[in-house]
């Protein structure tokens, strides 16, 4: 077919295949109403996608001359949402059984809550007809199915009510016998946002004979359950895709994400791999301080890696940051034993004990006063409280690290200033102040 020149209105969206459903089954009736709705809406079949779930109703898409997606059980709504988000101009209709409302309940709820503009038709016959008449989320109390032999003990799910109360744009409950079903389906498709139509019908293979359910009794059941019928929910909503595109205007040119080029221009005195760790507490900017040092190393022509370790609670417990510097490229970012370790808190001390045990006389440990780390490494005390700057938990790590780096002399201190100079304006001045105060801080060898 060479063109999308198909002219609507079509007389039908059905193809030539006859339905395969059992005599008396409501599926074919509902599909005829869907066909009428598509005709009423005067749509191009190229722009309609029928997304079918699993079960007898999952066969439905094969009897239509539209686009079709037949996926996995309960997931039909997720595929429909993906299609609609990617192609907002398409009309996306989901056909699922009541079984799908159980296994795919969370998808229904969340698509309704988000109001993604798809229309979901639930072919609700209160049981799993394809697999042998087992009970589903909508099976009425006391109903007999192949898995509720003593009568169903589970309260049936009010699909429409649940989705409507959570914001679905359109919610309708009715039966396959409804005179105006095709108009209601068309209304659901036309309404912006998410539309749900819970359509009750007979499964003549299992549920109806086991529970003496007839068409007439179906209406009695609705009454008995006290569930409203017709359009039971309407929320004035915007389609999620429209809202998304409105909230995110397209920007002509975007920078390469995260790209902050560093041009080496400073001298480094380091002639071999050097492993440095900072052990402090979460929330004290340990990682940002080490990141600044890493970038200073790169500005000095060194290679750097930074690996962070912190508990899942993020703002409490330890924060350990490992920095490896080397004059030559390297790929192994694991830390064997720090050549230098900065301990900033009791949390950090506990976390770094393994490193302290492994370190030898040639290694250097820096610590703030009062921590008393047990180690064979030579110990130096740095006291940020003595710094010529107001020290808070936001700059303490950086002040102490700057003092340590000025002691260690791995690269020119000017590189650290240059790295701070590359920070966003909001942080730049404070960081520069902190590192200069750190350098001026006297370190006391123990």
């Amino acid at each position: 077919m060479s063109g999308s020149a198909t002219i609507t209105p079509l007389a039908t969206f059905r193809n030539d295949s006859p339905y395969p459903f059992c005599p008396g089954c409501g599926h074919g009736v509902i599909l005829n109403r869907l066909n009428e709705a598509l005709v009423q809406l005067d749509l191009d079949p190229h722009e309609v996608v029928l997304v079918s779930d699993i079960g007898c109703s999952g066969l439905s898409d094969q009897y239509f001359a539209t686009n079709a997606f037949h996926g996995l059980h309960g997931r039909s709504v997720t595929y429909a949402c993906g299609i609609k988000l990617a192609r907002p101009e398409l009309t996306v209709v989901v056909i699922m059984g009541d079984g799908g409302t159980g296994i795919g309940g969370t998808h229904l709820l969340n698509a309704a809550r988000r109001n993604i503009g798809v229309t979901v038709l639930v072919f609700n016959n209160f049981n799993f007809g394809m697999t042998g008449g087992q009970h589903s989320t909508t099976t009425p109390l006391a109903a007999v199915t192949s898995t509720t032999l003593a009568g169903n003990l589970e309260r049936p799910l009010d699909i429409c009510g649940t989705l409507a109360v959570n914001g679905a744009g359109f919610a309708y409950r009715g039966t396959s016998f409804d005179k105006h079903l095709s108009e209601r389906i068309a209304e659901g498709i036309r309404s912006p946002g998410f539309a749900i139509l819970d359509i009750w019908e007979l499964c003549t293979a299992y549920y109806a004979p086991s529970n003496q359910l007839t068409g007439k009794a179906l209406f009695g059941m609705l009454e008995e359950l006290g569930l409203p019928v017709g359009v039971v929910g309407r929320n004035d909503v915007e389609d999620y895709g429209d809202a998304f595109r409105r909230a995110h205007p397209v920007v002509g040119k975007r920078a390469v994400p995260g790209l902050e080029p560093l041009e080496p221009g400073f001298e480094a005195s380091l002639d071999k791999r050097f492993e440095l760790a900072v052990a402090g507490s979460a929330g004290e900017k340990v990682r940002s301080a080490v990141r600044l040092a890493a970038r200073a190393g790169i500005l000095s022509g060194l290679r750097a890696t930074q690996r962070d370790d912190y508990p899942i609670t993020v703002q409490s417990g330890h924060s350990l940051s490992e920095l490896i510097l080397s004059p030559v490229p390297f790929a192994y970012s694991g830390m064997r034993k720090p050549d230098a370790l900065l301990v900033l808190s009791e949390d950090g001390l506990k976390k770094a004990q393994g490193y302290l045990d492994a370190m030898g006389a040639e290694d250097r440990v820096f610590a703030i006063p009062g921590l008393r780390p047990q180690t064979r490494a030579s110990l130096t005390i740095v006291d940020p409280r003595q710094a010529a700057v107001r020290v808070t938990r936001h700059n303490r790590s950086l002040v102490a690290l700057a003092a340590m780096l000025s002691e260690l002399d791995l690269f020119q201190f000017a590189a650290l200033e240059a790295a701070a100079g590359l920070l966003a304006p909001a942080y730049r001045a404070a960081c520069l102040e902190a590192i200069l105060a750190g350098r001026a801080l006297g370190a006391i060898d123990q």
Binding site: L59, A68, H107, G241, P261, E263, D309, I312
Partner: protein, 380 residues
């Protein structure tokens, strides 16, 4: 010029340069940085990024979006791959190009959320029912994260199948120094254009699938264009109507295997560093291969001979390249952060050789990396 960055960032850049315009994912360490970056980067470029209510919805939305014409990617870790499982099967059966990033962490179950592991190697290969092949690529450096993301999109389009990008916590969350020129080199040879479906006459019904010859793969035609497109996860004929006809089903399933396994030479990717006279071959992938390459330098500096093979295309197993490397040595050490999952594949290849060759494993499952000295210990 250099930069200080990580694998997550490189993967996002690769996806954007490959034309990715749809991302759906669910938060999970260590894959969350990709989700957050895609949320920031895609919408202003006209794409869609969405956080699903769970992993199942996330991959489901990606599959739907691809059928709507998008180029989609999702990212998770081992526990998320578990939830992707059924939809991986759907993507295989429905022939959906989709890039799935698996940032591996130490398993099983919740395992070590911020701890490195490489335990999903066999899992992604056999992640779903039926036993059909997928493609999996494993970058071993940050520039390779960028390069193999481009390649993953190309292969996904070319073979219409899920392509896994297997990384790990170390590669994705450890910042490292990168020469910007390395990205330029990585970009060479990367092309991700989608072929256009050939014109057909009006009499010929459109067929979204093709099984003849078995290894052929027609380009994907999305909804909303000139054809009425059908898609199904059930066994189907070439027009995507459900069938149980043994002849058709057999052809379909042979096609799903052959299109990947019989096009191996198009997928194979390894970096071989073979030294004449070396008796030992170290073989690794991902972040472990970084330590291996460092160990090679140290060994040779000491005058020791050793060969090394970094495998970038884990699945299908690059048998031609691996066999060629095996021919040169009498001993192979396979290094990986699991109990020996890829070693099984090497043992399988070695078993088909006519002379003896030993295969050993070098493993860590304690959340630590394999260090270069552990390789050197295995040299004698």
């Amino acid at each position: 010029m250099r930069e200080f960055t990580d694998g997550s960032t490189a993967i996002v850049r690769g996806a954007l340069d490959a034309g990715c315009d749809f991302f759906a994912g669910y938060p999970i360490t260590p894959a969350s940085p990709i989700l957050m970056m895609m949320m920031r980067e895609l919408p202003p470029r006209g794409g869609i990024a969405i956080q699903g209510e769970d992993e199942i919805a996330s991959i489901g939305m990606c599959i739907g979006a691809v059928m709507g014409g998008a180029r989609a990617m999702t990212a998770t870790s081992g526990p998320g791959i578990s939830l992707y499982s059924e939809n991986i099967g759907l993507a295989i059966m429905g022939e959906v190009p989709l890039v799935i990033v698996d940032v591996q962490r130490l398993g099983p179950a919740t395992g070590g959320a911020t701890t490195v592991g490489q335990g999903d190697v066999q899992f992604v290969r056999w992640a779903t029912g039926g036993g059909y092949p997928i493609i999996a690529l494993a970058p071993s450096s940050v520039p390779e994260c960028y390069q193999l993301t481009l390649e993953a999109f190309r292969l996904a389009e070319r073979f219409r199948c899920p392509v896994f990008l297997m990384t790990d916590k170390e590669l994705n969350m450890t910042a490292t120094t990168v020469d910007l020129e390395d990205y330029e080199r990585a970009r060479l040879g990367a092309g991700v254009g989608r072929e256009k479906e050939p014109e057909r006459s009006a009499e010929e019904p459109f067929e979204p699938y093709r099984y003849d010859p078995p290894e052929a793969v027609p380009p994907l035609v999305p909804y909303g264009d000139e054809h009425i497109v059908r898609f199904t996860g059930s066994t189907h004929d070439q027009r995507a109507f459900i069938t149980k006809d043994p002849e058709t089903v057999g052809r379909l399933n042979r096609h799903l295997r052959a299109k990947i396994d019989d096009n191996l030479e198009e997928i194979e990717s390894v970096t071989a560093d073979l030294e004449p006279g070396a008796e030992t071959l170290w073989l690794s992938f991902g972040s472990t291969a970084g330590a291996m390459r460092e160990a090679v330098g140290e060994a040779r500096a000491k005058g020791r001979k050793v060969s090394a093979l970094t495998v970038q295309s884990l699945w299908p197993v690059p048998e031609n390249s691996i066999r060629a490397a095996l021919e040169t040595v009498s001993r192979i050490v396979v290094a990986e952060l699991n109990h020996g999952q890829y070693r099984r594949e090497i043992e399988r290849l070695v078993a088909s050789r006519e002379w003896g060759c030993t295969v050993e494993g070098l493993h860590r499952v304690d959340g630590e990396l394999i260090a270069p000295e552990q390789f050197l210990e295995r040299l004698s």
